[in-house]
Symmetry: C2
Subunit: 200 residues, 2 copies
């Protein structure tokens, strides 16, 4: 491919990701249509599939950006939290709740992408996830310094999953969820009780 | 409406719910199409909308049955568990995991139905949910006998949400989730640690 053709292709890629990002944020993943994207980008529908293998690849590119913003929000919460590992974990869990509430449809798209079960997650996803997990692993290591690393990983992921469940059902407004205004105190209680109740 | 017409309508309703139930269980909610349902039921597409206001109503009828099966699974786990409230909660959480794993697409459909946010959940849903919550409330009340009822409700729902999060991310096989074979021990750890760490 010639350099100008490569540049045009990259420019179209960026533009499509931006358009898809806005559409997902405004209307959710289910509203994403190749035809609408092409119309807004001023390209043919086929041009989308020249740049992305399929719409799922495009959504994964959007999700990468959402994930990066989520990681930045967690890192900011960690920086601003008191120098106490329990407080740091609570601050990150609260930041997760705020992120999920204020970026609701983009956040939901993170989990809504359907991948064939035999297909592994893309490398960037695993590496972004590792970075996010590493932020949480710091305070967890301080609290449980003698826990073997493999147990710590599982503990960290269980903590994340439990917080995710409370945030998800709270925001989904299904009646199993807790009332929105009580979500933050309950996230606090969940994180603190779990930490205190775990065997050391 | 004449009695025979009413009977035919009820029979078609039952048949449509059963067909939709099987389709959702096999292929998931996203694969549900009015045209396919009508073809399998041997009726016109319009006849579906004479019986159900829209496909969402039909899915809610399927979800009601899924919910009833979930409630029965939790109740069976509770009956078979030792007479210790912590063991009872662990047994129900494990039963939830098994139900979600073995009825995966039907279980996912419980959360995938999109309702306009201003619209309340249907009465049957709230009442089935109350029954499920009541099963969990028993052991929670035994463990925290002096907790005011309004705090107990929030605690019970937080416990459910946290277990749901672990099961969801574990089964979704996203890398934030915990490896499937470690899900049950972690569900145990989550439930037991949370209970032990909570202030009494």
């Amino acid at each position: 491919m010639s350099e100008p053709a490569k540049d045009r292709r990259l420019a179209l890629r960026d533009r499509l990701v931006l358009i898809a990002e806005c559409r997902i944020a405004d209307q959710g993943l289910a509203a994403l249509r190749a035809r609408d994207l092409a119309a807004e980008a001023g390209c043919a529908v086929g041009a989308i599939y020249n740049v992305f293998g399929d719409l799922t690849d495009l959504v994964l590119a959007v999700n990468a950006r959402t994930f990066a913003r989520l990681g930045a929000a967690a890192a900011a919460a960690l920086r601003e939290a008191p120098a106490d590992p329990e407080e740091q974990l609570v601050a990150m869990a609260r930041a997760y709740h705020i992120f999920a509430a204020t970026n609701n449809l983009s956040w939901r798209a993170l989990l809504e992408v359907v991948r064939p079960t035999e297909q592994a997650a893309p490398d960037w996803y695993l590496s972004d996830m590792e970075e996010l997990i590493a932020l949480i692993d710091g305070p967890v290591s301080s609290i449980f310094p003698t826990l073997p690393p493999e147990d710590r990983v599982v503990l960290t992921r269980t903590l994340c999953s439990a917080v995710h469940g409370v945030v998800l059902l709270s925001l989904a407004e299904v009646s199993a969820g807790i009332p929105r205004e009580r979500a933050d105190p309950m996230i606090d209680l969940l994180v603190r009780s779990l930490i205190r109740g775990l065997p050391r």
